[in-house]
């Protein structure tokens, strides 16, 4: 990994991608959201008690390869996805965006998040944590190759399920 070079990617460009992603996820435009990902993207939510672990050796909350991630989107759009029907209202606050490393076409970036999730007659669910992203430059477009959403909560507890995309 080299130190960040301003010419490789600007923070503004990474922020634009993250804000666009947050907008699509909050609007449940999940097919469009898949368009922000590479064809071999993965999505991880590590367990609360082992936030730095490797999904091959540790039981995660979510560890999707692109195949299962696409299936997750199919599920989330289905009214039979009972945990998210009617779909939750969510609002994501993305901040502290940083480009931490670049290596050729690959960019590592981080951000903090606060995601509010609302369901009828339920107290608000507040998911707080940070993202670790691996981004790739493909045909001039910045795409998401890996996203890892790490929750700060010691246990999921009253957050219940992670039934929407963090």
């Amino acid at each position: 990994m080299n130190t960040p070079r301003a010419s490789a990617v600007s923070r503004a460009e990474v922020e634009d991608l993250f804000y666009r992603e947050a907008e699509l996820l909050d609007a449940w435009k999940l097919d469009e959201w898949l368009g922000l990902l590479t064809e071999d993207a993965s999505y991880f939510v590590p367990p609360n008690d082992k936030p730095d672990a490797d999904h091959r050796f540790t039981l995660f909350t979510i560890a999707d390869d692109i195949v299962r991630l696409r299936e997750r989107v199919i599920r989330l759009k289905d009214p039979n996805c009972h945990a998210e029907y009617p779909p939750s209202r969510t609002r994501r606050m993305i901040s502290n965006v940083r480009v931490v490393a670049t290596d050729g076409d690959t960019i590592a970036a981080t951000a903090n998040f606060v995601i509010y999730r609302f369901r009828r007659h339920a107290a608000p669910y507040v998911f707080v944590g940070h993202y670790n992203y691996q981004l790739k430059r493909q045909g001039g477009m910045l795409k998401i190759a890996e996203r890892r959403a790490v929750l700060d909560a010691e246990e999921l507890g009253s957050l219940g399920s992670v039934s929407f995309i963090l």
């Binding site: 367990p47 050796f57 289905d78 009972h82 999921l156």
Partner: protein, 433 residues
């Protein structure tokens, strides 16, 4: 107000008539604080309650802290190699003496006044000890151990009733099904895999007992998971041609003492040892090799019993071992009548290679857990049920009569095995004075 209208009950909360083939549970059992209080005293203080798995405290000094039956507990392996279950409360003024989730300890230090305890619970150090009167006996002031602490094949349970029967007696027919899980390991040693799923459900804890073994709800609740399996090329229809040692169809079974299980022919694949397309072509030879080892070790018939059937086992009252597309150990406690805390782990053979372990975990997350394709919908179902119970005075009874007219075995989609839980619950909670 007549609490038991509709001819049900005769004053009981679990009302069964074999003659009329009716079985009803009064919804008060899911909403009443008074009943929850009695459950704590009757069920959780008198039954064998799961604490943890031997593999979680592998080396001397290894400990885990957790809540068991409403108490703060330290599950610890001493320097002498003995696993112990200590109550995490200082004998002086009550503070928990171990506040970390897990780790390796040399002693326990109470941060309030500095009392120090050994890993066996003995009180070692008391600052300013000379100020205590002669009646103060350090030897009698160690951390209190659970009155009973026993294991079956590395599953450790405690019992707060010193006079309880031995664990192996208590487990009754559940032992056979625990064996079917543990015998998947060539050395008979399973381990809890790192990574804990801890999540709350805003529902009564007994609803998760029912849900964990209820195969009737699969089609309605888990449509999206079935779609995913279909999209992945898995034949989700039950197979034909089982028999003899294997159940020919899914069954629901009474294992005695309130324990129960489903016993189903497998058609969703298993890491040990039944391949399905989601594992990928490259996994086929590996799973064949696991199968060959199993057959060589236990014979064809036993291998088929282990690898070609699934089971969702309830050890009364609150331990579930689901052995299907992966193995999950699931434990849950009431916080309030409408609120439970769930802890779930993955279990696997200690011998697994990295590839096998990765495949097991991948299979686990497809169905199970708070981010899986199925568990969140179970949670949604149980929370919807609990909301419906707000009208428990107006709509009083749950119907659990499914399958009662059947003359032969109860199916997994019947409610015969769920009735086993409720009969035991009623025996303990409603025994006439």
């Amino acid at each position: 107000m007549n609490k038991h209208q509709n001819g049900h009950g005769n004053g009981r909360l679990v009302a069964e008539s074999r003659e009329n083939m009716t079985f009803s549970v009064n919804r008060e059992v899911f909403v009443s604080r008074e009943i929850l209080e009695r459950e704590q005293r009757t069920l959780f203080d008198q039954c064998w309650i799961y604490v943890g798995h031997d593999s979680e405290v592998r080396n001397p000094g290894d400990f885990r802290t957790r809540w068991v039956a409403g108490r703060p507990i330290i599950f610890i392996r001493g320097q002498d190699g003995t696993a112990r279950c200590l109550i995490n409360s200082c004998r002086h003024r009550g503070a928990t003496v171990c506040r970390e989730r897990e780790g390796t300890a040399r002693n326990f230090f109470c941060m309030y006044h500095g009392w120090t305890y050994g890993l066996d619970g003995a009180l070692r150090g008391v600052p300013g000890e000379e100020a205590y009167p002669p009646s103060f006996d350090k030897a009698k002031m160690g951390l209190v151990a659970a009155p009973r602490f026993e294991n079956y094949r590395d599953f450790w349970f405690l019992n707060f009733d010193p006079g309880a029967p031995e664990l192996v007696t208590y487990l009754a027919g559940a032992k056979e099904y625990i064996d079917l899980v543990v015998d998947q390991s060539p050395s008979g040693r399973m381990e809890i895999i790192s990574g804990t799923q801890e999540y709350d459900i805003k529902a009564n804890w007994k609803l998760l007992v029912e849900n964990s073994v209820d195969d009737y709800h699969l089609i309605a609740t888990h449509t999206t998971w079935l779609n995913y399996m279909r999209n992945s090329g898995v034949n989700v229809a039950p197979p034909k041609g089982s028999g003899l040692l294997l159940p020919t169809k899914g069954l629901g079974k009474d294992l005695g003492n309130g324990h129960l299980t489903t016993d189903n022919p497998n058609f969703r694949g298993r890491p040990v040892a039944r391949w399905i397309s989601v594992y990928g072509e490259e996994a086929k030879a590996d799973i064949d090799a696991i199968r060959a080892e199993l057959v060589q070790r236990v014979g064809e018939a036993r291998a088929a019993r282990i690898a070609d059937t699934n089971r969702n086992l309830v050890v009364f009252p609150n331990l579930v071992i689901n052995d299907g597309s992966s193995v999950t150990v699931r434990n849950f406690y009431p916080v309030a009548p409408d609120h439970m805390r769930v802890t779930a782990w993955a279990l696997g053979p200690v011998e697994e290679t990295e590839a096998q372990r990765a495949r097991r975990l991948h299979a686990f997350l497809t169905f199970y857990g708070p981010g899986g394709f199925a568990t969140p919908d179970d949670v949604a179902a149980l929370e919807a049920v609990q909301q419906g119970f707000a009208a428990w005075r107006d709509v009083q009874w749950n119907d659990l009569s499914r399958g009662m007219a059947r003359n032969d075995d109860q199916l997994d989609t019947d409610e015969g095995h769920i009735r086993v839980f409720w009969r035991r619950w009623s025996e303990l909670m409603e025994t006439p004075a």
